[in-house]
C-alpha cells in the first residue's frame, strides 16, 4: 500500500538524508502533517519539530511492496525551516537540523535548563508556556501577538522560547524524555 517516494532532509552544510521513503511526519506552522507518496504540491513553514522519516521497506522502488512492518524510522531534530513537496519529491530545508543519533543528550539537557532559566528571567516574551517534551497543538494565546511555531523558529531564533523548544525537540528526537 505504501508507495515509496523520494524525500530528503537538507541543511546548508550537507544533505542529512536522501532516499526512498514510505512516509514522512513533521509539524508545520499549522499543525502535524504526514506526507505519503503523491501528496499534493505543498509549501510549508516548519515549526521547531521532530521530522520522522519512515524509509521504504522492500527493494527500493519495487512497486511498493506492502510491508506493514515497514522499514526503519529515522528521526531528525529540525530547528525550523521549510518543507517543499512537488512532483512526488519531498524536501525538508532547515538551517539547522540534526540526526537523532548525533544529538548530544547531555548537552541538550543543559540547554533545556539554561533556556528555562532564561525564559524565567526574560518572561515569556513571545511564546506561550509549553510543558513537557510533548509538543501540544497550536496555542495562540497570551498577550499581544506572541511568536509561535514557525514564526518563533524563523524570526526569533535567538529568543529563550525558541531555545527551549529546540532543546525539547532535540531530546524528543533523541528519544530521551526530559524527566528521565
Amino acid at each position: 500500500m505504501a508507495t515509496p517516494f523520494h524525500a530528503e532532509v537538507v541543511t546548508p552544510e550537507r544533505v542529512l538524508f536522501a532516499g526512498e521513503v514510505d512516509e514522512v511526519l513533521m509539524r508545520t506552522d499549522v499543525g502535524e502533517i504526514a506526507f505519503l507518496a503523491h501528496h499534493t504540491e505543498f509549501v510549508g513553514a516548519l515549526d521547531i519539530t521532530v521530522v520522522t522519516v519512515r524509509a521504504a521497506s522492500g527493494e527500493e522502488g519495487a512497486g511498493g511492496a506492502p510491508a506493514e512492518a515497514s522499514g526503519e524510522q529515522q528521526r531528525f531534530a529540525v530547528h525550523g525551516g521549510f518543507v517543499h513537496m512537488a512532483n512526488n519529491r519531498l524536501s525538508v530545508l532547515a538551517g539547522v537540523a540534526e540526526r537523532a543519533e548525533e544529538i548530544d543528550v547531555a548537552r541538550a539537557r543543559t540547554a533545556l535548563e539554561a533556556a528555562r532559566e532564561r525564559l524565567g528571567r526574560e518572561g515569556p516574551p513571545s511564546a506561550p508556556d509549553r510543558r513537557g517534551a510533548e509538543p501540544s497543538t497550536a496555542e495562540p494565546e497570551a498577550g499581544g501577538t506572541p511568536l509561535t511555531g514557525a514564526r518563533l523558529a524563523l524570526l526569533a531564533p535567538a529568543s529563550a522560547a525558541a531555545a527551549l523548544r529546540r532543546a525539547e525537540v532535540r531530546l524528543q528526537a533523541a528519544g530521551a524524555s526530559e524527566s528521565a
Partner: protein, 334 residues
C-alpha cells in the same frame, strides 16, 4: 676587494630563499583550502536551490507582498554587504570587490540613495572607514572557512533593519566562484527578495524587471503560469514570504561567503604561485651574479698572483728561468 659582493649576493639568495619557502607553503595551503571550499559550495547547493524553489512557488502566489518582493522603485536608505578577506597577499582579490563597491555606491548616491555598509573581512572595514563611509557592522574571521552560523550572524544585521523598514534595499557585493579558473565580482540584490527573472539572471540590472505581484492573486489568470497554482500553502503565501526573508538572506549569504572564500583561496594560491616563481627567478639571477662575482674575484686573484710572479721573475736573476712561485717568494724574503 673581492668577496664583498659575493657575500652580499649570498645573503640575498638566502633571504629570497626563505621568502620563497613561505610563499610556497602559502600556495600549497591555499590550494588545499580551495579544494575544501569547493566541496562545501557543492554541499550547500541543494539547500540554496531548495530555498529558491520554495521562494519561487511562494512568490508566484503571494498577494500584496511588494514590500518583500521585487525591486523597489525609490530607495532612501540602503545597505551594501561587501565580502572580502581578512588578509592581503591575494593579488587583486580585495581591491576588485572594494573598488566595485565604491563605484556602485557613488553611482546610486546620485539617485538619492544613502548607503551604509555591512562588511565581512578586515580589509573592507579599513577601506570603507578610510573612505569615510558609514560601516554599520563589520565581521572578521569568517572568510577562511565560513560556517552557516557566520552567515546567520551577517543576516541578522541586515534582516532586522529591513523588516523594521529602516532600509529599503539590501545589496550584496562579493566574488562569485564560477570555477577554479574563473571568478567574478558580482553585485546582487539580497532584500527585498528578488523577483524570479532577477534571480535567474543572476546579474542585477537596475529597474529592468519589477515583477507585478498583484495579478498573481486571483486564481483566474493563474493558468498561464502552469502548475504553480496547485500548491498548498501552510501558512498563507504572504506569511510564508515574510518567513522566507531571513532564511533566504541566510542561504544566499552562506553561499556568497563560501564562494568568496573559495575565490580568495584561489586568488591567494595564484598570487603565491607567481611570488614563488618570482623568487625562483630572483634566486637564479642572484646565483648567476654571485658565480660571476666569484669567478671574477678568482680571476683577479690569479691575475694578481701571476702578475706578482711575473714581476718577481723580471726583477730576479734571469737565468733562473721560470721557477716555482713559492721558491721565488721564499728567496725574496730570505
Amino acid at each position: 676587494m673581492a668577496g664583498g659582493e659575493e657575500r652580499e649576493l649570498r645573503r640575498r639568495i638566502r633571504s629570497v630563499g626563505a621568502t620563497r619557502k613561505i610563499t610556497r607553503a602559502m600556495e600549497l595551503i591555499a590550494a588545499s583550502e580551495m579544494t575544501r571550499a569547493q566541496g562545501r559550495i557543492a554541499g550547500s547547493r541543494p539547500y540554496v536551490q531548495g530555498i529558491e524553489k520554495v521562494l519561487a512557488a511562494t512568490a508566484a502566489e503571494a498577494v500584496g507582498a511588494e514590500r518583500f518582493l521585487g525591486r523597489p522603485e525609490q530607495v532612501d536608505q540602503a545597505l551594501l554587504v561587501a565580502i572580502v578577506s581578512d588578509r592581503g597577499l591575494a593579488g587583486g582579490y580585495n581591491n576588485n570587490v572594494l573598488r566595485t563597491a565604491l563605484r556602485h555606491i557613488r553611482e546610486h548616491e546620485r539617485d538619492g540613495t544613502t548607503y551604509r555598509l555591512v562588511t565581512v573581512g578586515r580589509k573592507a572595514t579599513s577601506f570603507f572607514t578610510f573612505n569615510g563611509r558609514e560601516v554599520l557592522e563589520s565581521y572578521t574571521k569568517m572568510t577562511d572557512r565560513p560556517t552557516f552560523a557566520d552567515a546567520r550572524r551577517v543576516a541578522e544585521s541586515i534582516v532586522g533593519p529591513f523588516l523594521a523598514g529602516e532600509v529599503g534595499l539590501v545589496e550584496l557585493i562579493s566574488t562569485r566562484f564560477l570555477s577554479a579558473g574563473s571568478q567574478r565580482v558580482e553585485t546582487r540584490q539580497l532584500l527585498p527578495l528578488p523577483a524570479e527573472d532577477d534571480r535567474a539572471e543572476g546579474e542585477r540590472t537596475a529597474g529592468a524587471s519589477h515583477r507585478d505581484a498583484a495579478p498573481a492573486g486571483e486564481g483566474g489568470d493563474e493558468d498561464s503560469s502552469g502548475h504553480l497554482a496547485l500548491y498548498e500553502f501552510e501558512p498563507s503565501p504572504e506569511e510564508l514570504l515574510q518567513l522566507l526573508v531571513p532564511q533566504y538572506a541566510e542561504a544566499v549569504l552562506y553561499q556568497a561567503l563560501l564562494e568568496a572564500s573559495a575565490s580568495e583561496h584561489t586568488a591567494r594560491q595564484r598570487a603565491m604561485a607567481s611570488a614563488t616563481e618570482n623568487a625562483d627567478e630572483l634566486i637564479t639571477t642572484y646565483r648567476r651574479a654571485m658565480n660571476r662575482a666569484r669567478q671574477e674575484s678568482i680571476t683577479t686573484e690569479i691575475m694578481e698572483i701571476v702578475g706578482g710572479a711575473e714581476a718577481l721573475r723580471h726583477s730576479g736573476s734571469s737565468d733562473r728561468g721560470r721557477s716555482d712561485l713559492g721558491d721565488a717568494l721564499e728567496e725574496r724574503t730570505a
